[in-house]
């Protein structure tokens, strides 16, 4: 028998909630323009980590055939790099300049 509270999905859920709270705290606490870039990149990175846990543990990609695991990891890495790069290169520059 396994306790509901000690099962892996419950532990993952606690991490996901903690990550959500961290993201919100970063958003609320940052004011200075130069902080914004780091905060936004951190927020995107935290979102990617959350998505990875949801995929691997809730959707059970961790125990799925290797091809699905690789496809998921490659997609997540690609979209995360694309979003962070797009934000970093274009979105944040005018904010810094102003």
């Amino acid at each position: 028998m396994r306790s509901l509270l000690r099962s892996r999905p419950t532990v993952v859920w606690i991490l996901l909630v903690a990550a959500t709270v961290c993201s919100l705290a970063l958003f609320e606490l940052s004011e200075a323009a130069d902080e914004r870039r780091l905060v936004s990149v951190s927020v995107l990175a935290i979102a990617a980590v959350k998505v990875r846990f949801i995929g691997l543990d809730f959707m059970e990609v961790r125990h799925a055939p290797l091809v699905l695991r690789i496809a998921f990891e490659v997609w997540l890495l690609a979209i995360t790099v694309a979003l962070i790069a797009l934000y970093w290169l274009q979105s944040a520059v005018p904010v810094l300049a102003s």
Binding site: R2, L4, L24, V51, G55, M59, A64, Y87, Q90, V95
Partner: protein, 219 residues
């Protein structure tokens, strides 16, 4: 203490089943063998949906970079509290579905009673998301922010609207899952249907995580 699998005695009186270190036999098998949860078809759909949303996300950031002042100003009208509340509702709902799927894998008999309760709780959380989104949208619309106000609101209503459609379809799927878990007999095909429904519901959660970051938290 709540248990994922019911006491073995309640399923097979008089028969002792050896369970190692708190892991059910099925869970131990899952550690060593690779298998696809649900049906292949649901994964094809999920891959397609992830591709479409990936393009949505990139287009959003591209338009944001072209019009930063409007995006920054409009974002200040969003309520992070609503966003966080909805994130927590979907994460919790996803947890309940993940646990329900595992409860159905208990051996020697699935814990259908727990699975049914968990799916019911997941539906309640999903319905909560819809209610919160309804409040959020009506507050925005009554403040004069609509789809045609500016690019930010166009993307906001369009993307969260398409996501809300996913939530509504997901709730319908979970209602079907609930009917399955209540059946007296669970065939392997029925368990695969529950797994597929669960995977779709987790996709809804996964997409919201990115939407929440992109609309509510990006500075």
């Amino acid at each position: 203490m709540l248990w994922l699998c019911s006491d073995q005695a309640s399923f097979a009186p008089g028969i002792t089943v050896s369970v190692d270190g708190g892991w059910s036999q099925h869970e131990m098998r899952a550690q060593t063998t690779k298998r696809l949860p649900g049906e292949e078809g649901i994964w094809v759909f999920i891959c397609g949906d992830l591709m479409v949303f990936s393009i949505f996300f990139i287009v959003l950031l591209f338009y944001r970079s072209q019009n930063l002042p409007v995006f920054a100003q409009s974002q200040q009208t969003l309520s992070q509290s609503f966003g966080v509340l909805n994130t927590l509702l979907l994460l919790t709902s996803s947890l309940f579905v993940a646990l329900a799927v595992r409860a159905l894998r208990c051996e020697p008999a699935p814990n259908r009673e727990l699975a049914t309760r968990l799916v019911g709780a997941a539906i309640a959380c999903g319905a909560g998301f819809v209610v919160v989104k309804g409040f959020e949208w009506s507050a925005k619309i009554s403040a004069g922010h609509t789809l045609s106000s500016n690019d930010f609101y166009m993307f906001y209503f369009m993307y969260t609207g398409i996501h809300l459609l996913h939530v509504l379809v997901g709730l319908l799927v979970l209602s079907l899952v609930l009917m399955v878990t209540r059946r007296p007999q669970l065939e392997p095909a029925a368990v695969r249907m529950v797994e597929a429904g669960g995977v779709f519901w987790h996709l809804v959660d996964l997409l919201w995580v990115f939407l929440f970051a992109l609309f509510y938290l990006l500075k």
